[in-house]
Amino acid sequence: MSALKRSMTEPGITFRTIIGLEVHVQLRTKTKLFCGCLLEFAALPNSLTCPVCLGLPGALPVMNREAVRLAIRLGKALNCTIADFAKWDRKSYYYPDLPKNYQISQYDKPLCQEGWLDVPGEDGVGRVGIQRAHLEEDAGKNIHDTPGCTLVDLNRTGTPLLEIVTRPDLTSADQAYAFCTELQKLATYLSVSEGSMQKGQMRFEPNVNLAIVRDGIEYRTPISEIKNLNSFKAVRAAIEYETRRQLQDWMADNSYLFGERPHENRGWNDGRQVTELQRSKEQAHDYRYFPDPDLVSVEVGRNAALQGELNRPIDELPVARCLRFQAEYGLSANDAETILAERATADLFERAVEAGAPPKVAAKQFVNVWSKLANEYRRSIAELGIEAKRIGALAKMVEQNTVSASAAKTVAAAMLDSTDGPDFLAEQLGLIQVVDEEELAKWVDAAIAANEKAVQTILTNPKKAKASEGFLRGQVMKISSGKADPGRAGELIAKRVAGLKDQED
């Protein structure tokens, strides 16, 4: 590793990384692309197959309309041209997970062509060109680690995928990472894909090479294709590794050049964090694409459902909505992004605001209160099933100091088990904030008396004074069972401690 790093800083040499991506996105349909078998993750092996999946003689595929609609929707969001005429082709190769010995794909007439995706990065937004996006069926699954034979499960066979191919516009591992996360956001946001990495619903294949400049002359290294990555982290790590590896290989041998050396297929070894050359086939791939005689063309303009999808205005996309949340509601970028992580949650937030919730307070509650409850129940905030009106009402109570922010957490938890409003619940739980100065003074004095050490710290150690003040405020909240107004408690603590100081002086 150290040798690799040193080589990165060789004087007189500059380089840039050239990256293109192929991304497979599983479309969110109930059934497969060409038959009615259910799509279900981790089902009993070979329990979701039929003559079409198994490639039995005489079986005929029929296109799933929903898969085509979802592909149109994502294609539009990627600013692609949706083809008037798309067709299906057979890509032939032999592998045990492919029982027909061909994959149904789209070769020269893909459904979506020439678009782009804007990707936020450190130097602003970068535009990444999309060359094409086409529909195809997934293959089955081979399991190699059993002794004696390879096991084949054909449940996944025929899963609808959209393969998105970018232009080689990406220039860094970080940008590729951002592209992949942005694409996942977009696909899940538009309900085009569940986008689950755990279930392998997004798979990535970066193509990487370098343009190295030495003494004013540019050299290009051979392109390597890193196969089948299934996490964002692996995409970044694999590209970073490839960048170092290619630079080092070129330094060691200046004839390691595009055109002189073959295109390499490499696999990512996650344990060792390196890419490994895969044994190249004796013969170059020769897929012998030809039109599938079992399937007719897709002509969007001649089908009402498909044309309807094409005409539907594009929904406000996450990037635009995030900016609007910041501008319109004054949210921080982080809070806006957290709320926008799931569309139903973002919709719920906006309905709460419409119902009268102060946006900033509501946003804080989404991030600090509701998301924690949602995590506990392993759901999204929207799936907690709390009505926007009640969510809005709780935010309003915090804004008006009727309950403290910490008491609001208890009220929120109570709202899950009840259909009552937060005001009623706070009353019942005794969490309505007390404005009575006398009572507040009692709590503050009790906290100060019980925590002499913290008081001493405030008096003697200015560096830690803030933390100790915060600690005392927490104690007041605890003693008052959350009924104290933390802001006013803080003021009173400062006053009392200052008083003690005067006494000592």
């Binding site: 198994l54 296109m63 067709k87 045990p96 034979c149 297929n265 039109p291």
Partner: protein, 119 residues
Amino acid sequence: MTEDCASFFSRKRLEDRLVDTPIDESQVRHVAQLARLKLSDDEIRQHTVDLVAILGYVEQLSELNTDGIAETTHPLPLCNVLRDDEPQPSLTPDQALANAPQKRDTFFGVPKVLNQEGG
């Protein structure tokens, strides 16, 4: 086979066409390899002759003037044959595996794959 067709396939005409044909034995070997067919040298020679004949026959189509005729990818006057996204019953694992030469639990078993890379 029509009269024309028969004369087209006559040995003499085939041999004439072999001279300037793009198909040679190395290509037949390549295609056989892609199709996982094990062919003897004799078979390779025979298939080369046959393929040349077939391609030559089809080549007659190029005599037609197709200017201004739209590309056809399918002979049927149909498009958008689509189905609803509604589940249909699948086969049981037993049915699916009924003809499998080898199985383990409900998996198909196949000879060990060494090159762990698909298409």
